[in-house]
């Protein structure tokens, strides 16, 4: 199975995960500082920044795109409860 390496900058931990894993599944287990509200892609509480490796993330869905725009998110931001890792190296941090 393809793997991805996700680095959480705030806690200095890299996790090797199977492709297709959502960031929420990793960040909660590892204790990174990403907080959650609805977990359904509506509240934007889990908005986070992809420091590098956006090309290794799933595309934004229409819903995620709409919620990010409403919250004035930049191009580097994603919702941890929606975004899946596809492979390669990805660096993220809260925010």
């Amino acid at each position: 199975m393809p793997k991805a390496n996700v680095t959480f900058e705030d806690i200095g931990v890299t996790v090797t995960v199977p492709a297709g894993t959502r960031l929420i599944e990793i960040s909660e287990k590892v204790g990174a500082g990403i907080t959650y509200g609805c977990r359904e892609g509506e509240c934007a509480t889990c908005m986070m920044k992809i420091v590098s490796g956006m090309e290794n993330m799933s595309q934004r869905s229409v819903l995620e795109d709409k919620v990010l725009q409403e919250n004035m998110a930049g191009r580097q931001h994603r919702l941890a409860c929606q975004a899946q890792v596809l492979g390669g190296e990805i660096v993220v941090r809260p925010g």
Binding site: T7, I11, V13, P18, I26, V30, I34, T35, M72, P94
Partner: protein, 423 residues
């Protein structure tokens, strides 16, 4: 009682007095109410209304406005801040002056839609340096975000050197004499307002002051409280002082500050706290300090935390929870900025030991980074467990000084663990 008040030629206060208010927005007390300040500026080819009032005071606002302008003369409505105490009369004003253009900050756009519950709105988003020409009177905008909402801005009337500052330099103090050289002593209200409203955003206060200080200032017209026409620059200088660090930290240049707060029933968590401190002190460039929460008041600890780089909480678990003095301190941090500080927790317990993870979750919720999982010890710590506490202190200090060893783990290992990975 509803006469407008002249501030300068062509400039009037058209706000409202609310002397009965005692609690503002749940969090602020006021001993004599507040004012909702709105202003009207007349130029040769247009009239601007700057801010409105809380909805129940709309009649007074419109009466004062009608005394200085006709609705069909209004060309501009400026909102320095969209909170409801300043926008309560906005929908009706837009209905009465449909030709007026609405000027708001870039970040106010989504708030305006939420406030008016309409997607179909005409407005002009403005940023620092943008201007509106009223004919011989020019309004220039200063984007001052987070003073104290994301949308806040100030508006400067260039020809008369008047600053309509929004909530900055305001306070909750109601006195119908309006001007700072005529009203009662409101200095405590000014300080109290800063401490509760602006203090969490002091980095933004400094950035806002950088924009405001170069201006000539003949008068500051805030959105609440007295209008500052006597020595207006003194209030700007006071903000600069208030936004500076509270305490001089003699070690700041050479060390990161780690504060360890603990509370202990039988001395077990206290022994752990000492070991955490000793471990942290082993790392160069960290100044670790230990405080027993039973021996202190909340307020000075909040002041210390505001200046610290990292905070650690040691709590026993009593009836499945961390103890109240710790929650009291954590619930008092809303007045300071703590985002991105390092946070951690530890503690001794008798039965189940939930306190540590509850505190860690709370610290994450407050947007601290929690890179090292806390140490939990059942009852009396052994020498080996105290060594774990020292190692925990060392790891925290290494994270503070950027010398932490980066870890690589596999997801399958994480899935085996009951909670967060041991740091």
């Amino acid at each position: 009682m509803s006469d407008p008040v002249v501030l300068a030629p062509g400039v009037h206060w058209i706000g409202a007095l609310d002397p009965q208010l005692r609690v503002f927005d749940v969090i602020l007390k006021t001993a004599n109410g507040t004012t909702y300040n709105a202003y009207c500026v007349r130029g040769e080819k247009g009239v601007a209304v700057i801010d409105t009032v809380k909805a129940e005071f709309a009649d007074t606002f419109f009466a004062r406005l009608e005394a200085v302008a006709r609705y069909d003369e209004i060309t501009a409505i400026v909102l320095n801040h969209l909170e409801p105490d300043h926008t309560g009369a906005l929908p009706e004003l837009m209905r009465r002056a449909p030709q007026a253009r609405l000027y708001i900050s870039v970040k106010a756009q989504t708030m305006l839609k939420g406030l008016l519950k309409s997607e179909d709105l005409a407005y002009v988003p403005v940023d620092t340096g943008d201007t509106v020409d009223l004919g011989g009177r020019t309004l220039r905008f200063l984007n001052t975000p987070f003073l104290h909402w994301p949308d806040t801005q100030c508006t400067y009337l260039e020809e008369q050197a008047l600053l309509f500052s929004g909530d900055v330099f305001g306070c909750h103090f109601c006195d119908g004499r309006l001007f700072n050289d005529r009203v009662g002593d409101f200095r405590f209200s000014f300080e109290y307002y800063y401490q509760h409203i602006m203090r969490p955003f002091r980095e933004h206060v400094r950035a806002g002051l950088d924009l405001i200080e170069p201006l000539r200032l003949d008068l500051i017209a805030p959105a609440h409280g007295p209008i500052l026409r006597d020595a207006p620059r003194a209030y700007v200088q006071r903000y600069r002082q208030l936004a500076a660090p509270l305490l001089h930290n003699e070690a700041a240049d050479r060390a990161k500050t780690l504060l360890i707060f603990y509370i202990s029933s039988y001395g077990n968590t206290a022994r752990m706290a000492l070991a955490v401190r000793d471990g942290a002190e082993e790392i160069d460039g960290v100044r670790a300090s230990l405080y027993d929460l039973q021996g202190g008041e909340v307020t000075p600890f909040v002041d210390l935390i505001e200046e610290a780089d990292g905070i650690v909480f040691g709590s026993p678990t009593i009836n499945g929870d961390a103890v109240k003095p710790i929650w009291d301190l954590l619930s008092s941090l809303a007045v300071v900025s703590i985002k991105d500080k390092l946070g951690a927790a530890f503690g001794s317990y008798g039965w189940t030991g939930e306190a540590v993870q509850m505190l860690e979750d709370r610290l994450r919720g407050l947007k601290l980074r929690v890179p090292v999982s806390g140490v939990r010890v059942k009852l009396i710590p052994t020498q080996e467990e105290l060594e774990r506490c020292r190692a925990f202190g060392r790891q925290l200090a290494q994270h503070l000084t950027g010398r932490a060893v980066r870890r690589v783990i596999d997801m399958s290992e994480l899935l085996k663990e009951p909670s967060h990975a041991q740091g």
